[in-house]
Symmetry: C2
DNA sequence: GCGATGGTTCGATGCGCACCGAAGCATTTC
DNA sequence: GAAATGCTTCGGTGCGCATCGAACCATCGC
């Protein structure tokens, strides 16, 4: 008796090294061209093309054509969740790279997980949002309290607009490096955007790792207790 | 730049059909002999032996030798989590079996997910435990409230003993069929055992699907509001 | 319009690995 | 002790699929 959905196909698609590298690179949440994907996978353009076709056909990736450029990105949060779960498992059983890259500590500190923040800073924020009563348990996992609602709106996050979309507002995403949840969902994504917009942190090219400005992590955490100024340390209103 | 743990190896192990079938069968939380694993995978004993060795070496499975029998089981909750995440993704993108088995509705209703309950009944319980204040949000995801503590203890669940172990007490596990969380962790496992012990539900051979006795689901849900009698519908105190 | 660039398709190649039956080892049963 | 049973190891086989360069198509820039 073979119970449940057939995981073999999905896992075998993810389990090929070139495709795994493409997916990992796309976990930064940005779209990459076919050429960039080929570089991430260290294969010829023709090989990447075949791999990308498979991933698109399997609905793990979506492609957007702009002239002669094709931009690929992860199809949705559920794909990211599965990849993150596999990363957690791989990290725990020791399937790490033979030679840890220089950015591993940076990845653990803070990184993009698809479209929201992950790592030490993000899990600390998640914990604080709960401890300070902005997020509460709900049937779907987590919900924003009235206190939280006021706080997020005051920071310029349009909750009503987020809620109007089919995507869940709050979702716990088990962090592979911290082994506890960070905040995903549309709210998690909005907070990540806010942090970048405020200049608390910035993204770097070619990696998921995120760099926090001096005082940036503190400012992000201050979201929870309401001491976060609407203007960031650099008054980056643009 | 190749960021994060290397998921290719894990995924490729899971992505081979025979191994995927073995893992799926073991998600019922029971140990299977090598012979039984071979039957689940529909391969020769020698082929299964090679596959099982790979899974054990990769620490996805553990094996216990009893005389001439070798019992294999899933190595831990993190493996189950990754498999469940892949199942969720596979279910959503349509990689279901060509011919849905007769037990698919039963699987959706209630099934074992490793060592705790999943499906409609389990997610309803999770929601009710939260709505009734027995579970609350915490930094690690979920925690038992004082009210919940008293309730579970009254039902014979030794929380102190569970907490003395390294395994998390409460963990949200995103249910592949319901798309919202059911309760995992050592508490989730204890509740599953309680339900079986009380005769509210029973496990069936050869499948993860769980069958609830008449009134059994209601009794399980009544855990949350304290109307669940210490004796089940069949006074199954054994 | 031409050359450069991005990307796809095609065809040939070769490697990896799942497969099986046979043989062998270990344990159990009578 | 012999036969049955569970399981592993071995060796040969063949299929699947990732790979690349060449050819081709589409778009962009001058």
């Amino acid at each position: 008796m073979k119970d449940g959905p057939d995981i073999a196909r999905i896992a075998s698609l993810i389990g090929e090294p070139a495709r795994a590298n493409i997916l990992a690179a796309l976990m930064a949440g940005r779209a990459l061209t076919a050429r960039e994907c080929a570089a991430e996978a260290c294969v010829a353009a023709s090989t990447a093309s075949a791999h990308l076709n498979q991933l698109v056909e399997a609905r793990l990736l979506v492609v957007e054509v702009q002239g002669r450029h094709r931009y690929y990105r992860i199809a949705g949060a559920d794909v990211a969740e599965a990849v993150e779960a596999l990363m957690g498992l791989a990290a725990r059983i020791g399937s790490t790279r033979s030679r840890p890259g220089p950015r591993d500590p940076a990845m653990r500190k803070a990184r993009y997980c698809y479209d929201h923040l992950a790592g030490e800073v993000a899990t600390a924020l998640h914990a604080k949002l709960i401890a300070d009563g902005l997020l509460v348990a709900a049937a779907d996992g987590l919900a924003v309290s009235a206190t939280g609602r006021a706080r997020f709106v005051a920071q310029g996050i349009d909750l009503a607009e987020l809620e109007a979309r089919p995507r869940p507002l709050c979702r716990s995403c088990l962090d592979w490096s911290e082994r506890r949840p960070h905040l995903a969902g549309s709210l998690g994504a909005a907070i990540a955007q806010l942090a970048v917009k405020r200049g608390w942190c910035r993204r770097e090219a070619g990696t998921r790792a995120v760099t926090f400005a001096p005082g940036g992590a503190k400012a992000l955490l201050a979201l929870a207790d309401g001491t976060s100024a609407a203007a960031g340390p650099k008054s980056a209103r643009g």
